[in-house]
């Protein structure tokens, strides 16, 4: 049975769960912080974007594995 497609699908599917939750938590906390202190929203936004990029990197690692499975 040809399982490359299944493997690739599972790799990215499961790999995206953690970062998805992580990014959601990050953004939620950032919203709270902005709500509490709207003046600091510039700083909070910058820090949030940076932290989200780090969390997203984990999902990207999973994506790279999926792409390697699919295309080699």
């Amino acid at each position: 049975m040809e399982s490359t497609a299944l493997a690739a699908g599972l790799a990215i599917g499961l790999g995206a769960i953690g970062p998805g939750i992580g990014i959601g938590l990050l953004a939620g906390k950032a919203m709270e912080a902005i709500g509490r202190n709207p003046e600091a929203s510039g700083k909070i936004q910058t820090a949030m974007i940076l932290a989200i990029a780090f969390a997203e990197a984990i999902a990207i690692y999973a994506l790279v594995v999926a792409l390697i499975i699919k295309f080699t």
Partner: protein
């Protein structure tokens, strides 16, 4: 649909294979050099709008890197190399969105390919950055830089030192794969969307790629500045 993780070789110089990503990076370097020389010739004491814009960009980048590095003096010390990395990665990523990249082919091989969609390129940059950070560490504190990793002071420091040493290698891998994953996945996304619905639909994805290219260049520069700053920090304790 032509998607391959491995970059394709265009021609050989002797026994050295020149890939399409390497060729694209040469074009980007040439473009940056020409841009820099042209801009330098246009510098005036009372700035025009373009010069003000560029000065604003450089000032904001320096301000941002100051928050990363801790103090202004350290940020200014490493600003040359870090800002160069930032602009090179940024322009390479954005050049990969231009029409013609990936579509103009020569014997069925695309002549241009987004520079950092090639794992060789990103790993080379990552290894360079980590190597440089340790070089700066040696230049700053001398051989005592090694005592960060290999120390016999007490068991806790020895153990965490070894882990930090291994962590430096994992830093190389994570830097390389983060940039590669983002840019290569972006390329694959654009190819597939372009293949499915060539009109109108690629526009939001091109916008996404612009954003992702900027963020990834920023992340790379931030991590480079962070590692330069940490390893050149004066130690509070003496050995």
């Amino acid at each position: 649909m032509h998607i391959s993780i491995v970059p394709e070789t265009l021609f050989h110089i002797g026994s050295f294979a020149v890939t399409n990503t390497l060729f694209t990076s040469w074009v980007v370097v040439l473009a940056i050099c020409l841009l820099a020389v042209w801009f330098r010739s246009k510098l005036r004491a009372s700035p025009s709008k373009v010069q003000s814009g560029v000065e604003l960009a450089v000032e904001s980048l320096l301000g941002f890197l100051t928050t990363v590095a801790g103090d202004r003096e350290k940020a200014e010390k490493f600003f040359g190399i870090v800002a160069t990395l930032f602009f090179f990665v940024l322009l390479s990523n954005w050049a990969g969105i231009l029409p013609g990249v990936g579509s103009i082919t020569f014997h069925d091989i695309p002549i241009f390919r987004s520079v950092y969609s090639d794992l060789n390129m990103t790993l080379a940059l990552a290894i360079l950055v980590v190597f440089l950070s340790h070089l700066f560490g040696f230049l700053a504190v001398g051989v005592r830089h090694l005592s960060n990793f290999f120390t016999l002071r007490d068991f806790g420091s020895s153990f965490s030192g070894i882990l930090e040493f291994i962590g430096e290698f994992s830093k190389m891998i994570s830097l390389g794969f983060r940039l590669f994953g983002n840019i290569f996945a972006g390329e694959v996304l654009l190819v597939i969307i372009g293949g499915l619905v060539p009109f109108i639909a690629p526009v939001p994805f091109l916008g996404l790629e612009l954003f992702v290219g900027l963020i990834q260049a920023l992340i790379f520069a931030t991590l480079a500045m962070l590692s330069f700053a940490t390893w050149t920090k004066a130690r509070a304790h003496s050995s």
